[in-house]
């Protein structure tokens, strides 16, 4: 899909913490009964992962699956295959009420990396981001400043964050400002 461009085309900011626009990511909103066997096997079939518990994300070589609400998951998949995977899930879920929809283009994705990444996010999210409270695999659907966002930790001091595409540029500016040299609170 040579025509497809992400919101900032991979822009980066190098401050106290590194901010990167991560480019296009495949994302599927999957709504349904998270305890259903059919849904579990459909998810397992496409990303090879189990259903995460509340405020968690499971990640693996084929992608990821993030808890979004008691009846909603966000599947992280290959961008180019998102539509095909939606079709696969729809087939696998036949007969069971659910909704699977490709939302890849509705989103912007950012990486927040480096010592102080927790504190950059804690400037905008009313979330306990301290080392003992927020760990690899933890996820929050919250806000950053005035923007709705979800973020999770992939390894220590490495976060991925998604927001709506229309505010991607604002989010990048916000994160870059919060990540400026000399501004890390050094609390965590």
């Amino acid at each position: 899909m040579s025509n497809a461009i992400s919101i900032l085309n991979g822009a980066t900011f190098d401050g106290a913490v590194k901010i990167t626009e991560a480019g296009l990511r495949g994302m599927i909103t999957l709504r349904g009964d998270l305890s259903s066997v059919q849904l579990k096997s459909a998810v397992s079939a496409v990303v090879g992962l189990g259903i995460p518990t509340q405020r968690k994300i499971n990640r693996g070589p084929k992608g990821g699956v993030a808890w979004m609400s008691p009846d909603e998951l966000l599947l992280l998949v290959d961008y180019d295959n998102a539509d095909a995977i939606v079709a696969e899930i729809t087939t696998a879920m036949a007969g069971e009420h659910h909704m699977a929809v490709n939302v890849s283009d509705a989103r912007a994705v950012f990486l927040i990396e480096g010592q102080g990444a927790r504190e950059v996010l804690a400037k905008g999210a009313p979330v306990d981001l301290s080392t003992d409270a927020f760990r690899v695999g933890d996820l929050r659907r919250s806000r950053i400043g005035q923007l709705a966002a979800a973020f999770w930790m992939t390894e220590d001091d490495h976060f991925e964050l998604v927001c709506f595409r229309s505010v991607g540029a604002f989010m990048f500016d916000w994160l870059s400002n919060a990540a400026r040299e000399g501004s890390v609170p050094k609390y965590f």
């Binding site: 899909m1 461009i5 929809v101 939302v103 890849s104 999210a125």
Partner: protein, 1005 residues
């Protein structure tokens, strides 16, 4: 005169000199000095003028309670008024100027107010409202505006930046004095996550000044050891220069960190606002010393006794050479002893109590200091600085017994625990008769969601004034806080061995001398910043003020930037005395956050400049910006109003775009339209309830325009619904309504119709939506290629899925312009690519983009309503001739019952009409009201409705408008009158609101 002492100064670095200016004069200070300390070290005792009387004012305190010594700080884009010199640390290059005087600090014309104080008594401001009527506007107001006030307003945008920080802790401790440190140690030992905030740069609080031996260690050693112990605990964090400024519900607290006020730079943010959730909050906020109310107690040189020894001990600065101490308690003797030990003179200690035989008075006498008991100050001599005091009997009326020359008066009226944070969220107070102070009542704390108290007080803030008791209390509370936060403590021993001077009871003294006549009372200050005197509070009581809250506002007592930290207790004691009521019955005023003023910048945080408010941008935004889009905000989006070409006015550009759309082909970025996917076995049933019209009968592959009403029957959103499959619908909403409509749907699904099998997802941003509009639209799509777009395959109000120009596309045959129109949804990431292909393919047909104004004019020509123009939350579909879209067959939908109410069925409701002005060139102003002659009972013209949309239509070459007019549908052909100001009116004829192509032939081809 005040000066730097040869030795002493535990917080200054005598090796590092900094220079700063005050009123243009260059001074030297040491690193670690507060500005107040450095000014005193340079002999600058006069630092400002008072609010009302322009009296000379000096430094009175040494901390956050300072009422007088406020200055304008900085210049240009770093200028800030009302900065407290006692909490401002000096730095190289600091510039400060004094406030509230003209022409100069030394000579102030406004001081004339001081000569005529009888003209400015309590409530003078309100009294000026009374009579004569003209006097307020023309006499009093200008004078008051000119003479009142403190610092200047900044004129430039703030150069600094600010931010928030969210933290979650088990125990938050506010205050880094002995109690805070001890409580932190106990809480920390239990393993709880502890955050301790101290507003100053240094830890230790009063213990750093007032010596005690704790567990065998002198104060300084105990403080150092405790800090080291706390530093060793990973679960404990100490932040200095961070004030705990507010306590809110659910364990929420606000911290105000001054990151680089003491060393300004461009890198770090200046202030950081901490927003903290704590399981338990411990306020170890200490106590503030109270002034005494004697005549002339506001003259520069009259200071709090504790401040006098703070300056000597912490900064190595003497406030003066000859210090008279005046007190009602033992504590102030510490000041006398310290001054004496520093080699300075203490001519006398005036103790209002009949006897003073405690350990401290004994020690003072042993140093040879004269102690006069039962004595008071009749008045302070001097104007710009203290020259002496006249002594009298406390029991008398102020007859002078002796005049004693001095340059400092160190006063102490006792201590008041800092109960602000305890009280912010509802903690209650008890009156402590023995110490004449309000103390927190531990059994009536602010309650959290679990019904338990979430704020505890520690040390002096608990009302424990003696060192040993304060320490015991702090340790107990520290442990209790951790325990309540879920961390059982392991330590057993809560006792420390404390060696400190025992103190004898104090004597409440509210008026000095007790029988002070008016002449003295009218020079006895309560509120130094707002110029409120003992006589003012007495006058208020005399005039009938009983409530302390009313008296506060009438006299302005405690209403200044210091919020009465020094004046409140003294003021309400005077009020109680005047009313002959016990002090606790009069009560306190309400304590509100923040504890001291915080910068507006810190409240705004990072939200300024380009981060002020998010703007949503469409996938075509960059192209639009590069192609002369004239932007307009549409909800949170920015959208091109028009695309202006060289030499065009905005209006000309709009006309060009309309003409091109009506005659050729144009393209519109409609990506901002809301798009909500609704899926499930009950999706059709659900949408039948959400929309007023029938959606379940919609065929797969077809579109239908639908309306949404609130429970009250009022129209709030509209849009086209497309049925994707039997159980799946795509609902388009207005650009501004997508989030609300999505939330609205979810609310009904989650709270009322939770048994429906329906899921929704907001897919607004998944798609770029590009409308190709005009008679040549089909030719452009045919050229893009990839699918059959003929009217047979893709008829009006149909849609299909396929590819166009190699891009996955879903064209909808829907039209908001009345022209042949395809709205094509493509994946957002390919929106720009598709747009480019459309522009390329359309080039030979003269394609051009059009903006929202052309869209508006064209929809008005067609009589299409716009949510927010024709609707205002009080309009039902029937008012807008949209009754056809309100189902009569359905048993229910949201708003159905409401529409049955008789006032919604009246036929004289305001109804939508079209208007054609008599003069085709006259465009009615938006919102213009139609009048029908006659006046109502208020003498206003009788109005019958207003214009909701109004444009000049280039298509019709005639001004057109839509309006909501009372009984409008029966007024066809009537000529209405619209006054438009300046005695001008526009006349317009009521017509059908569909002005163009009434049969709808152009869109259906």
């Amino acid at each position: 005169m005040s000066t730097r002492l040869a030795s002493g100064g535990s917080v200054i670095d005598r090796e590092t000199t900094v220079s700063f200016t005050f009123n243009g004069k260059t001074f030297k200070g040491y690193k670690g000095d507060t500005l107040a300390a450095a000014l005193l070290a340079n002999g600058q005792t006069l630092v400002g003028r008072s609010f009302k009387y322009h009296r000379p004012r000096g430094i009175m305190a040494s901390g956050a309670e300072e009422p007088n010594a406020l200055v304008n700080m900085g210049v240009g884009n770093r200028f800030e008024p009302n900065q407290r010199t006692t909490t401002t640390e000096v730095f190289e290059g600091l510039t400060a100027t004094s406030q509230n005087h003209w022409p100069s600090l030394e000579f102030d014309v406004g001081a004339i107010n001081n000569k005529v104080p009888r003209l400015l008594p309590a409530g003078f401001y309100y009294k000026t409202f009374m009579k004569p009527q003209w006097a307020w506007k023309h006499l009093f107001e200008p004078i008051i505006r000119h003479s009142a006030g403190l610092g200047n307003a900044p004129k430039e945008a703030d150069a600094d930046r600010y931010e928030y920080f969210y933290a979650y802790v088990d125990v938050l401790i506010v205050g880094g004095g002995m109690a805070g440190l001890a409580a932190a140690l106990e809480a920390g030992a239990s393993g709880a996550k502890v955050l301790l905030m101290e507003q100053t740069a240094n830890l230790g609080g009063r213990l750093a000044v007032d010596e005690a031996i704790i567990d065998g260690k002198p104060s300084a050693d105990w403080i150092a050891q405790t800090i080291a112990d706390l530093d060793a605990m990973e679960n404990v964090t100490i932040r200095t220069r961070t004030m705990g400024s507010g306590v809110f519900d659910h364990g929420y607290a606000m911290g105000y960190e001054r990151i680089n006020d003491h060393a300004p730079d461009d890198t770090a943010p200046r202030h950081r606002l901490w927003r903290i959730r704590a399981r338990r909050i411990v306020t170890a906020t200490g106590a503030l010393e109270r002034p005494l109310s004697f005549a002339g107690n506001d003259i520069p040189g009259v200071m709090l006794a504790s401040a006098v020894r703070d300056y000597a001990s912490l900064f190595g600065v003497s406030a003066g050479d000859r210090t008279v101490v005046v007190t009602n308690n033992d504590d102030a003797y510490r000041t006398a002893i310290q001054m004496k030990n520093a080699g300075l003179e203490v001519p006398v200690i005036l103790d209002a109590r009949p006897q003073a035989d405690g350990a401290l008075p004994t020690a003072a006498r042993a140093l040879g200091i004269r102690v006069d008991t039962g004595k008071a100050i009749a008045k302070v001599k001097g104007y710009k600085f203290v020259t002496g005091v006249e002594i009298c009997s406390q029991a008398g009326e102020g007859t002078s017994l002796e005049t004693i020359p001095c340059d400092v008066v160190a006063m102490s009226g006792g201590w008041s625990p800092v109960v602000h944070l305890w009280s912010h969220c509802g903690g209650k107070l008890n009156w402590d008769e023995a110490n004449a102070m309000f103390s927190p009542d531990p059994i009536r704390p602010p309650l959290g969601s679990d019904g338990k108290g979430f704020v505890l007080t520690a040390g002096t803030a608990s009302g424990e004034l003696a060192t040993a008791a304060a320490l015991r209390n702090a340790r107990t509370v520290g442990r209790q806080a951790a325990d309540e936060a879920g961390f059982a403590s392991l330590t057993v021993n809560l006792e420390s061995l404390v060696l400190a001077h025992d103190e004898e009871p104090m004597l409440p003294v509210w008026s000095m001398p007790a029988g002070a006549p008016y002449k003295l009372r009218s020079k006895s200050w309560l509120d130094f910043q707002n110029d409120v005197k003992v006589s003012d509070v007495r006058l208020a009581a005399q005039e009938g003020y009983e409530s302390v809250e009313h008296t506060k506002r009438y006299t302005t007592l405690g209403m200044a930037t210091d919020q009465g930290k020094l004046s409140n207790i003294n003021g309400l004691a005077i009020l109680a005395d005047s009313l002959n009521a016990p002090i606790p019955n009069v009560g306190t005023t309400t304590f509100r956050p923040p504890y001291t003023p915080i910068s507006l910048g810190s409240i705004a945080g990072e939200a300024r400049g380009k981060l002020f408010k998010p703007t949503r941008k469409s996938p075509i935004d960059t192209w639009q910006d590069a192609n002369n889009a004239v932007w307009e905000p549409v909800a949170d989006w920015r959208r091109p109003y028009t695309y202006r070409r060289d030499g065009e006015t905005t209006a000309q550009a709009v006309t060009r775009e309309i003409d091109n759309t009506r005659t050729g082909v144009s393209v519109l970025d409609a990506s901002t339209l809301g798009k909500i996917l609704v899926k499930g076995p009950d999706a059709a049933k659900f949408l039948d309830l959400i929309y007023t019209n029938m959606m379940s009968s919609l065929k797969v592959g077809k579109c239908r325009y639908g309306l949404m009403c609130t429970e009250n029957g009022f129209l709030f959103d509209d849009g086209v619904v497309a049925r994707l499959s039997e159980d799946e619908f795509l609902c388009h909403t207005t650009s501004g309504g997508s989030d609300n409509v999505h939330g609205w749907m979810e609310e009904w699904l989650q709270t009322e119709w939770w048994d429906f099998e329906v899921y929704t997802t907001n897919v607004t941003e998944q798609f770029a939506q590009i409308a190709v509009v005009g008679p040549n639209a089909r030719k452009v799509l045919e050229k893009l290629g990839g699918m059959d777009v003929s009217s047979e395959t893709l008829p009006f109000m149909g849609f299909t899925d396929g590819t166009l120009a190699g891009i996955q596309a879903r064209p909808f045959r829907i039209s908001f312009s009345g022209e042949l129109s395809y709205e094509i949804a493509v994946p957002a990431a390919q929106g720009q690519a598709f747009w480019n292909k459309v522009m390329e393919a359309g080039e030979e047909f003269g394609i051009m983009p059009y903006g929202t104004e052309a869209l508006h004019v064209m929809r008005a020509e067609k009589g299409f309503i716009m949510i927010g123009d024709e609707t205002d939350g009080t309009v039902i579909p029937q008012d807008l001739k949209l009754g056809w879209a309100v189902s009569k067959k359905k048993t229910d939908f949201i708003g159905k019952r409401a529409m049955e109410r008789d006032f919604l069925k009246r036929d004289d409701r305001k109804q939508l009409v079209g208007l054609l002005t008599e003069n085709p060139a006259d465009v009615l102003p938006d919102g213009a009201h139609a009048v029908e002659g006659g006046k109502n009972r208020y003498g206003q013209e009788n109005m019958i409705g207003h214009v909701t949309s109004t444009y000049f239509s280039p298509t019709l070459n005639h001004s057109i408008a839509m309006a909501l007019i009372k009984g409008g549908s029966k007024r066809m052909g009537e000529v209405l009158t619209f006054p438009i100001g300046d005695n001008k009116t526009i006349k317009a004829t009521v017509v059908d609101p569909v002005f163009y192509d009434k049969e709808g032939e152009r869109q259906n081809v």
